[in-house]
Chain length 200, copies 2
């Protein structure tokens, strides 16, 4: 006899659908919220609703933002001659935390991965090429894809496309450990990587 | 410069407030939902709202339920002479899964823990005593608190209170590993524990 209220089962199921959350953790979270003040469940519920309502994608750099264009693209103080190409919005966050980079960004939303069936056409690569071709203030591209197989493949692919356009290309120095994930790098490692940029 | 949209920061913070979810996991979940279809964030948001709106506490056994009294307390087929005392609603779930117990329940909502400042008055112990004194069909109490320090203390405390009332008291057999948590026990172990119940 299943005597669990449907609202409880449903929340357990929804938590369980999230990556890295198994059925036991989903149960724990649900029963924690049952005991927690009503406000906490409401705050989480509201935050979830406003996530999709209030977050837009910047039409210039494809980063997530509150407004289009995003705060970085609108910022007059930033160096508009340099574009840092990253895989994910989280990577922008990680680089901003170093306070060492003052150029603009371009977010690909992924990396080339034949295994997962992700090709160049699934990424914001055409947008990057259009941007370079139309905006002649751009002089340099910093490739900051993740230092793993997919990131390397993506960087190589971009190099072949962008170099003929006469744009200088640099990469984050190999202070980053191979097989790692850019967003998990600490500020010092990322700062070193920015300092050691070299022309390809 | 913090360029993350507020809706994103807020959701990361709310996830981070949940037990066992650190800032990195909170980020991961948030960015996963940003990319997932709108329906998934909405479904999770709705499930959270209905959790507090639709779940009530049974006035008889203190278990969580959709209606008051709960489905188990209303079930005519159950043995009303026996009460199983557990710490949490999750423990009821675990025992129901064995299909070996057919009596009623009483949920304490915790265990006595001087370290955490939880005394008998913070648990549904008075409700249990009132229930035993007013409902003369109750002949037996099965103590099914967790087999750890707090659970043991709670069981001993209840024994001292209930025995003078002339009620038979049994405990789940010590098939349960010490230091464990009842809700994590597998069905077979719990079944064994139910089979080996002994009078104190």
């Amino acid at each position: 006899m299943d005597t669990t209220p449907r609202a409880v089962t449903q929340l357990i199921e929804e938590f369980n659908r999230l990556p890295g959350i198994g059925p036991k953790t989903a149960q724990r979270l649900t029963f924690y919220l049952l005991r927690a003040p009503k406000e906490q469940a409401e705050a989480l519920s509201d935050a979830l609703m406003s996530l999709k309502e209030r977050v837009v994608t910047c039409s210039v750099c494809s980063n997530i933002a509150e407004q289009d264009p995003c705060a970085i693209c609108r910022d007059e103080a930033r160096d508009r001659s340099i574009l840092c190409v990253v895989e994910e919005p989280l990577d922008v966050l990680a680089l901003e935390r170093t306070r060492e980079y003052h150029g603009l960004y371009h977010v690909l939303h992924g990396a080339i991965s034949p295994v997962e069936g992700i090709g160049p056409e699934d990424l914001r690569i055409q947008e990057l090429l259009d941007r370079i071709q139309h905006d002649h203030t751009i002089q340099e591209i910093v490739l900051a894809t993740n230092p793993n197989l997919e990131g390397e493949a993506t960087a190589l692919y971009l190099e072949r496309l962008v170099k003929p356009l006469g744009i200088r290309m640099t990469r984050l120095a190999r202070g980053l450990p191979m097989g790692g994930d850019l967003e998990y790098a600490d500020e010092v490692t990322l700062t070193r990587a920015l300092e050691g940029m070299r022309t390809r």
